[in-house]
């Protein structure tokens, strides 16, 4: 399933739309990807797998969710990426890329981060592999995600605030690309999702594909068969592609990419704001950050500011391979709004004893709303845990009346 798009084009999507100064580095990276990742040269993949096991804690379990199964009258299984070191699937990719940078002889790592999950994973991987690391993060996100900023610094990474634009993920990616263009000869850019120029979308997918590789095997052991549907939240799409990759060829398995519906799917063209991050469901084809893909943009082609209660889904673009799979009707692009995600957050916390990331909660929101259409066996990717989101959850829950939520009075004044 992974080799069919070896040229970096997913139909019309993908490609390499980057400044000329970066092209030689992209070519070098493509060569390294083909040799080390695809062909396991010098035992790269063996070392990667071994480090994922010992440092990362793989394999993560596939767990039968008893109370959700009871609630929905079907078998619900959870792929527990929240149990990976760092508390999210992000380490799969960060460790793979930092290790690859070492194999390539690079001496410095840069990365962007939105909510801070990719930044913290990259900082951990860089410390683990002894590589100097600088993380670019929007100033607004820095203020929203203080604990993650400190985690990155604890691991020895520098966190550089990005003050351009509205100071979120989109600007952080642009700024990291500028750093890379300046220091391209000794620096590797660890991109955080299945986005950007080829080979990033394919390479990040391959590092994340371990999620569905394990889940497929674990589920067969437990049930003797395949799931009827797989649900994963989708922002840029790295946990999504990781959860889908090994099921794409199984035509009986329905694949659901659950995007952030935000407050509404309506777009405010005048203000350049889309109060959602549903680029797969509502975006138009265009070129951003190195790839042709589906984008939230105005009719002129200017990129919109996206919005979601979960910072990790807050991005105006999406991986080009997902865009293609949606056009091919292989992946269903669906969405859940902020309310549905918050309710699902509380429900999973109460019923299963798992506090999910707000990103992940979107997938459970979809399960709640559409379980009848999802078949007998449903696999949900628990892409990350929700400790990082508690401040936001308290703030947002106070504004709403959520049945499954605890009394918020006890939390007044924050945690």
């Amino acid at each position: 399933m992974t080799q069919q798009y070896a040229d970096g084009k997913f139909g019309e999507y993908g490609g390499q739309y980057v400044p000329e100064a970066l092209m030689p580095a992209i070519e070098e990276l493509t060569d390294a990807y083909e040799r080390y990742v695809l062909e396991n040269e010098d035992g790269f993949m063996d070392e990667f797998r071994s480090r994922l096991r010992d440092f990362g804690g793989r394999p993560t379990p596939t767990q039968h969710a008893e109370r959700l199964s009871e609630r929905y009258g079907r078998e619900v299984y959870l792929k527990r990426e929240d149990l990976l070191h760092g508390g999210a699937h992000k380490l799969n990719n960060a460790l793979g890329q930092v290790l690859l940078a070492k194999y390539m002889g690079k001496e410095r790592i840069v990365a962007e981060t939105g909510a801070g999950q990719h930044g913290t994973a990259t900082a951990m991987a860089a410390a683990h592999l002894d590589m100097p690391c600088e993380i670019y993060m929007g100033e607004r996100d820095i203020n929203r995600q203080r604990p993650n900023v400190f985690r990155m610094r604890l691991n020895g990474s520098a966190v550089n605030p990005v003050t351009t634009g509205r100071g979120t993920l989109k600007e952080a990616i642009s700024e990291t690309m500028r750093d890379w263009a300046t220091n391209v000869e000794d620096t590797h850019y660890v991109i955080g999702s299945v986005v950007g120029p080829h080979p990033f979308p394919s390479m990040v997918r391959d590092f994340q594909a371990v999620i569905s590789e394990e889940a497929r095997e674990q589920l067969r052991e437990k049930t003797g068969g395949l799931p009827d549907s797989v649900l994963a939240c989708a922002g840029g799409g790295s946990n999504t592609m990781g959860a889908f990759a090994n099921f794409v060829d199984d035509e009986s398995v329905g694949l659901y990419a659950v995007e952030a519906g935000g407050s509404t799917l309506e777009v405010d063209e005048e203000a350049g704001v889309a109060p959602n991050s549903a680029s797969l469901s509502t975006g138009d084809e265009g070129v951003l950050h190195g790839a042709r893909t589906k984008l939230l943009q105005d009719s002129d082609g200017q990129i919109m500011e996206s919005h979601s209660v979960s910072a990790g889904l807050d991005y105006a673009g999406v991986g080009p391979e997902l865009a293609r799979l949606v056009d091919d009707d292989r992946v269903n692009a669906v969405n859940v709004d902020d309310d549905g995600a918050l309710e699902a957050f509380h429900r999973l916390s109460q019923l299963e004893g798992i506090i999910p990331a707000l990103e992940t909660a979107h997938a459970f929101g979809y399960l709640e709303e559409h379980y009848e259409d999802l078949g007998e066996t449903v696999l949900v990717n628990v892409s990350g845990r929700g400790d990082k989101d508690l401040e936001t959850v308290i703030e947002e829950t106070e504004k709403r009346d959520i049945e499954a939520a605890p009394s918020m009075a006890a939390f007044s004044g924050g945690i």
Binding site: E20, M23, G165, A181, N183, V287, G290, Q297, G301
Partner: protein, 296 residues
């Protein structure tokens, strides 16, 4: 232009169509190619600023059509992009801007590919290029469009007789250089240093190496990225460049004027003066390289 005896390399059968305007702008002496973001900080002042550049000696003017995610730009031009977008600049307004400009020198549109791709009723670059030709633009520079992805735009440019300028970076060598040079027309934009746009205090040693690699190609070489003073311009032209591209040092003047709330006329005067300094520097550099007496 160019070294004597230089020969056409990459003589494939399908040379790009060349726009006579840009070729002519480099024909006698070094070309001074200033850049400003159109509509920075507002439409009317920006018209005056661009016209001031011509009075100051511009041979070609690069006009930026601002895109919300300018990944190749440093802080100076990023700020210009923000000011221009906030001032209401759009692709359609940009074309009107070009029509409203009272200048004779050729104009090159510098923008990012998504704006070119989205324009008009059909997706793809053709409607944008058609409209650009209609308003009298001479060519394009598209910093996020490497040669690998440029075929559709190159075809549209050939159809409407516009030039497509490519950037050659200090890291561009071998096959990549060949590929770019077989698609470029107008002039080649020699990126003087790695990184993003922005005025610098000195001239990069990477420039000379880049010019050496390009010496055998019969396309004018204009050097940009980091040129700030007449002295920089002089050294770069003396070192073999056929032209200099200056953006951030001029945008800085616009930014200061906008910040201080100065009248457009005052700012335009300062731009004209700066343009003259840069042009004079380029001419001095050319005199060192090709003394008057030896010119044919």
């Amino acid at each position: 232009m160019g070294d004597e005896g230089s020969e056409m390399s990459g003589e494939s059968g399908s040379d790009p169509v060349r726009n006579p305007d840009l070729e002519a702008a480099f024909a006698d002496g070094p070309a001074f190619v200033p850049y400003l973001a159109a509509g920075d900080p507002d439409y009317e002042s920006s018209l005056e600023y661009v016209e001031a550049l011509e009075r100051g000696g511009a041979d070609v003017i690069e006009l930026g059509l601002p895109f919300s995610e300018p990944i190749a730009e440093g802080p100076t031009i990023q700020s210009a992009v923000v000011r221009s977008l906030e001032g209401g600049m759009t692709p359609e307004r940009f074309f009107e801007f070009v029509e409203d400009l009272d200048v004779d020198v050729p104009l090159v549109c510098m923008t990012y590919y998504n704006l070119i791709y989205q324009y008009g009723s059909e997706q793809g670059p053709r409607p944008f290029v058609e409209r650009a030709a209609e308003v009298g633009l001479s060519g394009f520079v598209v910093p996020d469009l490497p040669a690998e992805e440029a075929d559709p735009l190159r075809e549209a440019c050939d159809e409407f007789g516009l030039d497509l300028v490519f950037i050659v970076a200090p890291t561009t060598r071998g096959d990549r250089l060949e590929r770019i040079m077989s698609q470029v027309s107008g002039y080649v934009y020699v990126q003087a240093r790695l990184g993003v746009t922005g005025a610098q205090e000195d001239v990069s040693g990477q420039t000379e190496e880049s010019l050496d690699r390009l010496a055998d190609y019969d396309v004018p070489k204009a050097v940009g990225f980091g040129i700030k003073t007449g002295e920089h311009a002089e050294r770069i032209v003396a070192g073999g460049a056929d032209g200099i591209i200056v953006g951030s040092a001029l945008v800085d003047i616009v930014a200061e004027g906008a910040k201080a709330g100065e009248p457009a006329e005052t700012v335009a005067g300062r731009l004209e003066e700066k343009a003259r300094e840069l042009k004079q520097g380029a001419l001095r550099g050319y005199e060192q390289r090709v003394p008057q007496a030896e010119r044919t």
